[in-house]
């Protein structure tokens, strides 16, 4: 081949490589520095309100649900989605804004009634509630659902276990080992419509637990344990179209036994609901923008490529929202790893960090707002405080050097930063922290671990953290329910420290924090609770074991064919139950 031809070929390939780089995104994703604000209408109002029904609502998931079994799932997207076929004692209203995170009764006639000693919560089921086969929904079905989802960890262990922790159930071993449900004394059912929860300690936010899909009734004779997800018995407006094979498309069709009169929500607009799993992200986004697809069910927002497309096109911006996801990104600083046993050394990290660089690593302001404390703004009790704040949040030379002096290491020290190696932006944020600390002589080695084992085996194993000297640990957290307790208990309470699967990565075990969180759980007055959450937040920040840096935001796109679209503050994504389709 002549040199001329070789040259031409090389030029062509180079051009292709450049195109590849352009399409791949990376760096700052703010769409070329132009105005990056999008419509945001669906954050505060319902877009395209319509009473029309019909059509097939199409969802896509880049991965798959952890389970379709309402008793065995722990992701907000699943909880949002299960409302199609699994009604719960309590749920969240179909309202945008803060009102959307205040529980309302669903299967129950009212919110929970608590006894004077705070130890018994009672719910009464509405009349004429039916499963998809026409049989009555009874209190026993709800009791069974709680028993299987919380007391059979050998089979169902993906969901939260708050009922297991809170209910006075002695040594009950779950319905798969003990088939006499009467032995489950944590929940009693005096009659077919009454359900009583008996707690070890008072828990003021019990209604939030009653809104979890685990309270969706399950008829004992239809339970197939781990296989129940393939054929869930519906209590909601839709039911599975035949038996579902995990990984394959899911189709929901109308449940003819569903009575909308018993439902506080309007969640039966489309005729059919479809979900395709394992869809390639960029292709999924293109289909979303083209209107071939209606919703990305994971609700995490579009990828970098589509983000640029949307931010550069006013028509697309008009159909986009950029809400906070309720997910707080932070670095935990572990006091059990030297030299962080000295608070001043931890403070040097907090003062030295350039949070704007970390925000840039995630994609700029479209990817999140800089966080200055450990509560997301949407959580009641949030206050706009900035302990260890620096001017412009870029770090303070003076304060960092003073902290290093106090720490006894004026020339700096060495430590490790761990991150999830398959999360590119988290890696970039760790690199940004590394660079900002370098100028003070704080040398850090980056250690990446797979996301799949990060919490179970590395960052979430205190023994591993100590052995590998992971002084600074990248992490992120979202609330199990929209309250300070729902957000903070797992990452700040000393009792939540575990040998494996630990989420309290700072290993914070502050008696005052523990006491306040425990007290908040027994305090009825919401405003008093909110004050306690503010206090816990302040104490956690004062411990200098948390370096919050970003209140994450997602760029969500809503095709014009969708109606009744709004951002749910309860689930931190569009409320799927409300969605309908424009009928031409």
């Amino acid at each position: 081949m002549s040199k001329k031809w070789l040259g031409l070929a090389a030029a062509g390939i180079s051009a292709a490589m450049v195109l590849t780089a352009c399409g791949g995104g990376g760096g700052n994703d703010d769409g070329g520095g132009s105005d990056i604000s999008v419509d945001d209408s669906a954050i505060s109002s319902v877009v395209d309100e319509s009473a029309e029904k019909g059509g097939t609502l199409k969802y896509a998931h880049s991965d798959q649900f952890d389970s379709l079994d309402p008793g065995n799932t722990y992701y907000a997207a699943n909880w949002d989605f299960t409302r199609y076929y699994a009604r719960t004692l309590v749920t969240y209203p179909q309202k945008p804004g803060q009102k959307g995170q205040e529980p309302v009764p669903d299967l129950a006639t009212d919110l929970g009634e608590v006894s004077d000693d705070g130890l018994t919560w009672t719910y009464t089921l509405k009349k004429d509630l039916k499963f998809q086969d026409g049989s009555d929904i009874t209190s026993e079905d709800v009791k069974y659902a709680i028993a299987r989802s919380n007391f059979a960890p050998e089979s169902l262990n993906k969901g939260p276990n708050y009922f297991f922790q809170l209910l006075e159930s002695g040594d009950y071993e779950g319905p798969y080992k003990d088939d006499n449900l009467d032995n489950f004394e944590g929940v009693t059912t005096p009659d077919d419509r009454t359900i009583e929860f008996h707690l070890k300690e008072p828990f003021a936010e019990f209604d939030y637990l009653a809104a979890m899909p685990q309270t969706a009734p399950v008829p004992a004779d239809a339970d197939t344990g781990t296989q129940y997800q393939t054929d869930v018995v519906s209590s909601g407006p839709y039911q599975f179209k035949g038996e579902w094979t995990p990984g394959q498309q899911l189709t929901l069709v109308r449940n003819e036994e569903y009575d909308p009169e018993t439902d506080p929500l309007t969640r039966n607009r489309p005729d059919e609901v479809q979900v395709k799993f394992k869809q390639e992200e960029n292709d999924r986004d293109k289909r979303l923008i083209n209107g071939d697809l209606h919703v990305d069910v994971a609700g995490l927002g579009v990828e970098a490529s589509a983000r640029q497309d949307i931010l550069r096109n006013d028509d697309l911006k008009a159909n986009a929202d950029n809400p906070q996801t309720g997910f707080l990104l932070y670095f935990a600083i572990n006091p059990n790893v030297k030299p962080f046993d000295d608070k001043a050394c931890r403070e040097a990290i907090l003062y030295g960090a350039d949070k704007t660089a970390m925000q840039g690593a995630w994609g700029g302001s479209i990817a999140g707002d800089i966080a200055t404390n450990m509560l997301p703004p949407s959580i009641p009790g949030y206050k706009d405080t900035a302990p260890y704040g620096t001017e412009g949040q870029t770090g303070s030379k003076k304060k960092t050097e003073a902290a290093l002096e106090e720490c006894g290491m004026p020339d700096g020290f060495s430590t490790n930063i761990s991150y999830r190696s398959d999360r590119d932006k988290e890696k970039k944020a760790a690199e940004a922290l590394q660079q900002s600390l370098q100028q003070y002589g704080i040398k850090t080695d980056l250690k990446g671990y797979p996301a799949g084992t990060y919490t179970s085996e590395q960052a979430g194993s205190p023994e591993f953290v100590k052995r590998e000297e992971l002084g600074i640990i990248a992490y992120g957290w979202g609330a199990d329910w929209p309250s300070g307790y729902g957000f903070m208990s797992q990452i700040m309470h000393g009792d939540s420290i575990k040998d494996a699967g630990n989420s309290n990565l700072s290993e914070l075990d502050d008696p005052e924090v523990n006491k306040l969180l425990d007290k908040s759980a027994t305090t009825d007055d919401p405003s008093s609770r909110e004050q306690m959450y503010s206090d816990v937040n302040a104490l956690a920040m004062e411990s200098a074991t948390f370096l919050p840096y970003l209140n994450q935001k997602a760029l969500l796109y809503r095709p014009e064919s969708l109606s009744n679209v709004y951002f749910s503050e309860a689930y931190k994504m569009y409320d799927y139950s409300a969605l309908g389709l424009e009928q031409n």
Binding site: N161, G247, R284, T453, A500
Partner: protein, 338 residues
């Protein structure tokens, strides 16, 4: 001949056993050597905030406290003799060959592999037809018209085909031929051949061509090189001297001799592809074995990774065996067992 095939099959079984050992060691032995205890391993199979009771229950269920040899023995025994899993309410019988049970998705692995095999098979066979026909034809024409414009254009295209990654060509083809000009359906539109053969083919055209572009390029270069060598051989001159038509000289004598290395590499390529064309399946959201394996690796779903790896290894072994048998037919100089 039969003895030879049996001997090769026996060697294949040994190979598969070694594959299971290696994959099993990667998932269970290596983490232990890295200091991960059985609690950590069990935490892989529970939710994001597991209780100690859940971890203890999973450890017991998966025998994670047993020695690694016992765990491996149980896996192999399940593979050969089948095994049983407890769903809570029932016992699930996993008949031999039981490739295990995914505790991530709570499903048996084998039916999932069987579900995905037609997708990967459809992709691999269609693409293979295109790349073999196109690659070999272009390679032959290039060799016969060495130095011509056709030769140069073909080889530049081949160079581009080899150099451009599938996720690039795939996404570009989707952007142009699916979104800009909606000629082909977007990704994620796969329909089974039994449901609707037309929709099946329509959805697979872009993946076929994208995948075939890469391989056709390699095969064209390989064929061209082989043909150039062969066409200069004495027996070709003899064939021409005997007055055989040029078409016969090229196809019966030249191409036949040049095909041997191509068949060898085709056996390997096709066998590997039946185990999943990872990038193509991911780019076009095709629910095949490759994407299944990648997702399983990301999710630490050992039984699925083992299943796909073993299936891929089996395909490679079988395809290689077929290739060896084909040698005798293609090239009379080769005699099996010689």
């Amino acid at each position: 001949m039969i003895r030879y095939i049996l001997r090769r099959l026996a060697a294949g079984v040994v190979l598969l056993l070694v594959v299971t050992m290696v994959v099993f060691a990667i998932f269970f032995l290596v983490p232990r050597l890295a200091g991960i205890d059985s609690d950590g391993l069990a935490a892989r199979y529970v939710g994001k905030s597991p209780s100690p009771e859940a971890i203890a229950a999973v450890k017991e269920r998966l025998n994670l406290d047993e020695p690694i040899t016992v765990q491996y023995g149980e896996f192999v025994s399940g593979l050969v003799m089948g095994t049983e899993y407890d769903s809570g309410t029932d016992v699930i019988h996993c008949d031999a060959p039981c490739f295990g049970y995914s505790f991530k998705t709570n499903t048996e692995v084998w039916p999932q592999l069987v579900d995905r095999l037609p997708v990967t098979g459809s992709l691999a066979i269609g693409a293979a037809v295109i790349w073999v026909v196109a690659g070999v034809s272009i390679g032959v024409l290039s060799a016969l018209r060495r130095g011509s414009l056709l030769d140069r254009a073909a080889m530049i295209t081949a160079l581009a085909g080899v150099s451009l990654p599938i996720f690039f060509t795939g996404l570009v083809s989707l952007a142009l031929l699916s979104y800009y000009w909606p000629i082909f359906p977007p990704g994620g539109s796969y329909t089974g051949i039994t449901e609707n053969p037309l929709a099946w083919a329509h959805a697979l055209v872009l993946p076929w061509v994208t995948l075939a572009f890469l391989y056709a390029a390699m095969y064209a270069r390989l064929t061209r090189a082989g043909m150039l060598d062969t066409m200069g051989e004495d027996f070709i001159r003899t064939a021409r001297a005997k007055g055989l038509p040029e078409r016969t000289v090229v196809t019966k004598h030249g191409l036949r001799a040049a095909l041997t290395p191509i068949i060898t590499i085709f056996g390997l390529d096709f066998g590997l592809m039946l185990g999943g064309a990872v990038l193509t399946e991911s780019t076009f959201s095709l629910p095949g074995l490759g994407k299944f394996a990648v997702d399983a690796i990301r999710g630490n779903d050992l039984p699925v990774v083992l299943g796909v790896t073993m299936l891929t290894a089996a395909f490679v072994v079988v395809c290689n065996l077929i290739v060896d048998v084909l040698y005798a037919w293609v090239d009379p100089r080769v005699r099996v067992g010689a």
